[in-house]
């Protein structure tokens, strides 16, 4: 189910204020955020956000293509290290 258009995109309020501040000041410092649920707005393009993945803040440089996605989509929360190699027992068979 898609979100109703009349509601507009969801963004945590403080994201807008922080983005504005970063834009006004000397850019390129990472804006740390836990707000994975916020939509990426056109105002955020060019800024770098540190999106929390539950462990640390992953840097996400926002580009134009990312508009409309959520921040969380760019910071995977799971780490897959592959399956364990086959045990020697079986190899002998």
């Amino acid at each position: 189910m898609t979100r109703s258009v009349w509601k507009g995109p969801f963004v945590d309020g403080y994201m807008l204020r922080k983005a504005e501040k970063a834009r006004a000041s000397g850019r390129n410092d990472i804006i740390k955020t836990w707000s994975r649920r916020s939509t990426i707005l056109p105002q955020f393009v060019g800024l770098t956000f540190g999106v929390h993945n539950g462990n640390k803040f992953l840097p996400v440089a926002v580009t134009e293509n990312m508009i409309g996605h959520k921040f969380g989509e760019f910071a995977p929360t799971r780490l897959f290290r592959g399956h364990t190699a086959a045990s020697k027992k079986v190899e002998k068979k």
Binding site: H69, G72, F74, A86, V90
Partner: protein
């Protein structure tokens, strides 16, 4: 035989069925094309006149993206996701389900035929 939308040559079937051989045209669009061009959906393709075939061709050109163009659009959409580095893109890259389905079991459509896992114990019957 009639060539519609490039290389497609739908058979000696009723128009509504033959149109569905075109990539991007299903039952709904086929019916819509018949309605718009005022042709009988049950009429066989080899019984259509040249003018009628032309009308169908023009109607498709005007209203739908089909075949190569459509395939390219789909591929581009997937490529966009993959280049973006977003979650959906990662799933496409790994060939796993994109929309949150379980992968503990099933998901064979995306994962392909099951691979044997070396070292896995075979269940013994009691």
């Amino acid at each position: 035989m009639a060539r519609i939308a490039g290389v497609n040559i739908p058979a000696a079937k009723p128009l509504k069925a033959a149109l569905r051989y075109i990539y991007g045209i299903g039952a709904t669009h086929a019916a819509a094309i018949c309605a718009r061009t005022g042709l009988d959906p049950a009429k066989r393709v080899n019984q259509l006149t040249e003018a009628e075939v032309l009308r169908v061709r023009e109607d498709i050109d005007a209203h739908y993206k089909v075949e190569g163009d459509l395939r390219r659009e789909v591929a581009m959409n997937i490529k966009r996701l993959m280049d973006l580095g977003c979650y959906r893109g990662l799933r496409h890259r790994k060939g796993l389900p994109v929309r949150g389905q379980r992968t503990h079991t099933n998901a064979r459509t995306r994962k392909g035929p099951a691979k044997a896992i070396a070292g896995k114990k075979i269940a013994t019957r009691k």
